[in-house]
């Protein structure tokens, strides 16, 4: 394979990666930042960074985890850069109402809003576990935490959601 062919192959592999994983990355970034425009920007920047360091991806089977890490870092950078003000949750919910809407399923829409209002430290591990299918150890690695801390956050995340949704807190016996 000559240089041009290698370049084309690299582009093809990366483009396929984008096509396959971009929806998940967008969802991840959206729930991370609770802002559609921010999610777009973060994913765009993350993909550009990923393209530049694509050769560092040793095992393409780990591409999703690799890209999620880049999205997280890019989100942190973006957060520092823009110095987001403390967010008004009601305004955030209102701004993204059409994304959170679930026609004919009030319970689903309500769960979305409850997730939107969940603290970042609880929402992110929950997303990684439920949406991305990560194990608690993988979440710990991704977030730079001890596994015990992840377990605590996941437990509290669900407890908050149950409380927020008014779901009976404990079985009666």
């Amino acid at each position: 394979m000559n240089g041009d062919e290698r370049g084309t192959d690299r582009q093809q592999r990366f483009a396929t990666l984008c096509e396959t994983l971009r929806p998940d990355l967008l969802r991840f970034a959206f729930w991370l930042g609770r802002d559609r425009q921010l999610a777009e920007d973060v994913v765009q920047e993350a993909l550009l960074r990923a393209w530049k360091s694509f050769d560092a991806l040793a095992e393409e089977g780990k591409a999703k985890s690799w890209l999620l890490t880049i999205v997280r870092r890019e989100f942190a950078r973006s957060f520092e850069r823009k110095r987001h003000e403390l967010t008004d949750l009601d305004a955030l919910v209102a701004a993204e109402a059409d994304v959170l809407a679930a026609e004919d399923d009030a319970g689903l829409a309500e769960m979305r809003e409850a997730l939107f209002r969940l603290d970042d430290e609880y929402r992110e591990p929950l997303m990684l576990q439920v949406m991305m299918g990560y194990s608690t150890q993988e979440i710990a690695d991704q977030m730079g935490l001890q596994r015990g801390a992840v377990l605590t956050r996941l437990f509290r995340a669900r407890a908050h959601l149950r409380q927020e949704l008014g779901i009976t807190s404990e079985p009666s016996s």
């Binding site: 093809q12 984008c18 971009r22 967008l26 009030a106």
Partner: protein, 228 residues
């Protein structure tokens, strides 16, 4: 042996957890087993909630242009796609597995919260509104005194669970907007009787120990304003 607190902390973080200790505790503690089942059901709801339509988040940009370069998927991606399809098919099959009957689900739910039937204090209007408002549901005056109002997980959905006092004793009412029935479904088990009636939005399950539940059910049914 794992106690209830340890069990709940464990499954609260990992609802899909299993293993000898978990299974043993589940076998000896129905309340904890139910708790884990509820968490699993809630996780299914969380999964659906997180899976927002990416098209609503997405706009055409340079990354999309990159995708147009490709003409052929690499082998590893094809394999990954096969795995995803396999998981999806497996999930679909799992979801389509025969589920406990509606009657079983209703009775299990009522049996799971026995204390709900024994309360006599009226639920505060604000608390009741908190349970019903998200669904746009209202109770007309003929509904009766509500002594229990919670939102519970039922068949992977959050549903209002009420207990209303009638002259013949308390009855449990579940408002099942997600569950359509074409005709009344009658229930009878362990001294309880019940009926699930088709409603303007889904159905309504009414369970009690009264001999003449039909009259009570009709009165309750007519006193629910299902909203839009």
């Amino acid at each position: 042996m794992m106690n209830c607190l340890e069990f709940r902390r464990h499954v609260g973080a990992e609802p899909t957890a299993s293993g000898a200790e978990i299974d043993a505790h589940r076998a000896q503690c129905p309340a904890c087993a139910r708790y884990q089942d509820e968490l699993r059901a809630m996780d299914a709801l969380i999964g659906r909630a997180l899976a927002v339509d990416a098209a609503r988040l997405h706009k055409p940009d340079t990354a999309v242009a990159l995708t147009e370069i490709t003409a052929r998927r690499p082998r590893w991606l094809a394999l990954a796609a096969s795995i995803v399809i396999g998981i999806s098919v497996g999930l679909a099959l799992w979801i389509s597995l025969p589920r406990p009957s509606l009657a079983r689900e209703v009775f299990d739910h009522v049996a799971h919260e026995p204390d709900a039937m024994s309360g006599t204090a009226l639920v505060a209007p604000a608390e009741l509104a908190g349970v019903l408002d998200p669904y746009g549901t209202r109770l007309r005056p003929g509904f009766g005194d509500v002594t229990y109002a919670r939102r519970c997980i039922f068949e992977w959905r959050v549903v209002p669970h009420l207990v209303v006092q009638t002259p013949q004793g308390p009855v449990t009412v579940l408002l099942l907007r997600h569950r359509n029935v074409s005709e009344p479904v009658r229930l009878a088990e362990q001294g309880y009787v019940g009926v699930v009636l088709p409603a303007p939005r889904g159905s309504i399950a009414i369970v009690g120990q009264q001999k003449d539940l039909d009259g009570i059910a009709r009165q309750i049914f007519e006193a629910v304003d299902w909203g839009n």
